[in-house]
């Protein structure tokens, strides 16, 4: 992933595509055996220090039109070092190397994007990933923490989006006239509106569980989209959303006034991809912090108890109505925030931006990442929001090419598979082979769910739980059942009432005292 983003489009080819697959497969399949880890690190290094790329990238002076951007060469050095440090940590402290790899990929990505030529298009992918993390975290509160299956999450995304659109576009486009409210006001309205609607949705569905809840929320998502489509002021009612035309020329976010520090300045309107990315990243970090704090608190435990067994949770004093509404409200508020952030950068909003597929995609982020885990949502967003974009450059040929190239095979051996690929009736081999993108993506999701049903980075407990379950099953086979039968046979078969007096010295000695 990282490498594809790292290199400009022209050089994005086989090795990088291969790396993506390798890293993802490693995250999926990797065990914690030392051999696998050594192989993996070797593979990553091998690809990073690809013989064709290194001399170019390392020793080439930066092109004249990018005077201050060290770009790929910097990363080519930094990433292997980081991986080596990670491996050292693994050997020294027994850190989970797989997790370290994932953290590294995630952590270094923003850095790579701010640097290097043609950073802007790549930063856009990052922006997509960042606001999808926000959305994923929001839905994770509802689905992952409280266990309430919500398939209408897009509704809150839409509410936040429209709140932003209506309040920050100019007069010619704005359905309610020019409001031009300050950033913080719009944000508060977007988040507050979504939260209120979230609670309102929560009220009627409080008694529903599982499938039924999913269906009702599904309908709710559609209702919001239909309202957005129809509230165009034609015929009855007011114009709220401009209907199918949507709202255009929406203003960007400007959280604080521009500060000029001579050499560079920041603040003001966040127009560029990278500025929008930083905004989305800050939101994601804030939401991630909140989600993590709540998970380890009274509130998170109450949610978890509800997820595990709602009746018992209530019996233990948890006000389930309150906490379910809280989950809906908080999830919706975060969804609204995601919508506002998205719209602040997309500059247009139409009802077709809020199809059901968004809800499904966000749910997939939560599930693939690992339910109830902030880390999982981050990984999930990278894969579900980032991968389809990254795979734009991948065609079958590039995979064949790259896969073989890694092993330094002579060119004539490589020609064979490529020739085969070119004989296919579809153009999967060339640049036009875009169809392959979603095929690959879909395949990856299927493989992922089969191999790692608990998600990529489940909350530690769940991971533990799954591992333990397997171990326990093994352990239980001889012992567990024997223990039960022993209980049954250990009890004397006397009828309950026929042995009225407790034997002396037996537990019942005290019954006389009590009388």
């Amino acid at each position: 992933m990282i490498l594809v983003l790292l290199f400009p489009q022209e050089t994005t080819s086989g090795p990088q595509a291969f790396t993506i697959i390798a890293i993802v497969l490693y995250l999926l399949l990797g065990t914690n055996s030392t051999t696998t880890n050594v192989l993996m690190v070797a593979l990553v290094l091998l690809i990073v220090i690809d013989i064709r790329e290194v001399p170019d990238a390392l020793f080439n002076s930066a092109p004249a039109d990018y005077p201050l951007e060290p770009g790929p060469s910097l990363l080519l050095v930094a990433l292997p070092i980081a991986l080596l440090v990670a491996y050292g940590l693994h050997l020294w402290r027994g850190a989970d190397l797989r997790m370290l790899c994932a953290v590294l990929v995630v952590a270094t990505l923003p850095l790579t994007l701010a640097l290097g030529p043609s950073a802007e298009p790549r930063t856009f992918v990052l922006f997509l990933i960042a606001f999808n993390i926000v959305l994923g975290l929001g839905l994770n509160v509802v689905v992952g923490y409280a266990g309430l299956l919500d398939l209408g999450f897009v509704a809150f995304f839409a509410l936040g989006g429209y709140a932003w659109a209506i309040m920050s576009t100019d007069a010619s486009n704005a359905p309610l006239g020019e409001i031009d409210a300050p950033f913080w006001v719009i944000l508060a309205v977007a988040v507050g509106l979504a939260a209120v609607v979230g609670v309102l949705l929560g009220l009627p569905v409080l008694r529903l569980r599982g499938d039924y809840l999913a269906i009702v929320t599904l309908g709710f998502g559609e209702i919001i989209r239909l309202i957005a489509t129809n509230a165009d002021g034609k015929g009855q009612g007011w114009n709220l959303t401009n209907g199918v035309t949507g709202v255009r020329e929406i203003g960007s976010a400007s959280p604080f006034p521009e500060i000029d520090l001579g050499l560079f300045s920041f603040g003001g309107e966040l127009v560029s991809n990278s500025e929008a990315f930083w905004l989305a990243l800050v939101c994601a970090l804030m939401v991630g912090f909140i989600a993590e704090q709540l998970r380890n608190s009274k509130v998170g435990r109450a949610w978890e108890a509800i997820r595990e067994d709602e009746d018992v949770a209530q019996g233990m004093g948890v006000n389930t109505v309150h906490y379910k509404l809280l989950a809906f409200g908080l999830g919706a508020a975060i969804g609204g925030l995601g919508g506002a952030v998205r719209t602040s950068h997309f500059s247009t909003v139409t009802p077709s931006d809020f199809q059901l597929i968004i809800s499904i995609n966000v749910l997939a982020i939560v599930i693939i990442g690992g339910m109830g885990s902030v880390r999982g949502v981050v990984l999930g967003a990278f894969i579900l929001a980032g991968l389809p974009e990254i795979l734009r450059d991948v065609s079958l040929r590039s995979i064949v090419d790259g896969g073989l190239n890694v092993f330094f095979l002579p060119e004539f051996i490589q020609e064979g598979p490529i020739w085969l690929v070119e004989q296919l009736p579809w153009d999967l081999a060339g640049r036009e082979g875009q169809e392959l993108r979603l095929v690959l993506f879909g395949l990856l999701l299927v493989v992922m769910m089969v191999i790692r049903p608990q998600g990529l980075a489940p909350s530690p407990r769940r991971q533990f739980e799954l591992v333990e379950m397997v171990e326990q099953d093994k352990a239980d086979q001889p012992g567990g059942i024997a223990g039960f039968s022993e209980d049954a046979s250990g009890e004397p078969p006397s009828s309950p009432i026929a042995s009225p007096q407790p034997e002396p010295g037996r537990p019942g000695g005290r019954s006389e005292d009590g009388e």
Partner: protein, 261 residues
């Protein structure tokens, strides 16, 4: 004033009369048994006392307060807690977390404070964890705080369920077959443990139990249900010699045979 006072409580599920016009009074610090053949309505009765079911008619008073129609969490806040016949722990949570859920009502941190993890929240969490650990030790689960509930042995799960109920700081504890599936030694330990709850902690206990040795050993007063109706009550000796009770358990012919010799 009695801790629990129940007047003519009835529960009807469609055509089935599960509990019919039952009266019951429990004084503070009593250990009271509720027995009866399978399907007699004992668990339904528990469910009404703890708010899981709303009685069709009749009144339930906890410490003088009428609790009909109250939600289980409200009744819990009045000091009534329970365990379940088929152990119902939060399986995917650790032993410690299970108990911390039981502490829920006694944690005062608000939503926003928890979100920001203010120092006050941190202190409260630390205290809660400490008291949860104490409870674990008390029920004999020392060192198992990080085990997932589902991985505990059967007896430990029973103990954990009681610890979770104790974490709510109940005045009245309802135990639904606390020794089900236990061997005689474990049952003996449970009897001593239950007595300890009353003696050391002053908790009033109402328990459903099938093992007569346990019932007769620990209860000071026993109520017998059959087909939803209370057929007898009294001290263990009284109940044991009650004809209707013997009949309910053993059937008429058997009962006659029992009396004959």
């Amino acid at each position: 004033m009695a801790l629990l006072e129940i007047n003519g409580v009835t529960k009807r599920f469609e055509g089935l009369l599960a509990v019919n016009n039952v009266d019951l009074v429990i004084e503070e610090k009593q250990i009271v048994g509720l027995i009866g053949p399978n399907g007699a309505g004992k668990t339904t009765f528990f469910n009404m006392v703890t708010g899981f079911y709303e009685p069709t008619s009749g009144d339930i008073y906890v410490a003088g307060k009428r609790v009909n129609g109250m939600a289980p969490d409200q009744i819990c806040s009045l000091g009534v807690s329970r365990t379940f016949q088929n152990i119902r722990l939060f399986q995917a949570m650790t032993a410690l977390e299970n108990i911390l859920v039981g502490r829920h009502l006694h944690l005062k941190s608000g939503f926003v404070a928890s979100m920001l993890r203010l120092p006050s929240v941190r202190r409260e969490e630390e205290q809660a964890e400490k008291s949860a650990r104490d409870l674990l030790n008390y029920v004999g689960l020392r060192g198992k705080q990080n085990e997932l509930a589902r991985n505990l042995s059967y007896g430990d799960q029973r103990r954990l369920e009681i610890a979770r109920a104790l974490a709510t700081e109940p005045k009245l504890l309802l135990l639904d077959e606390p020794t089900a599936g236990m061997n005689p030694l474990e049952s003996l330990q449970m009897v001593q443990f239950i007595r300890g709850l009353r003696d050391d902690r002053g908790i009033t206990i109402l328990l459903i139990e099938h093992q007569m040795r346990v019932v007769m050993g620990v209860c000071e007063y026993i109520n017998v249900l059959d087909y939803g109706e209370k057929i007898a009550e009294g001290t263990p000796t009284e109940v044991q010699s009650n004809e209707r009770v013997i009949e309910a358990y053993l059937g008429k012919g058997k009962a006659a045979g029992h009396v004959a010799p």
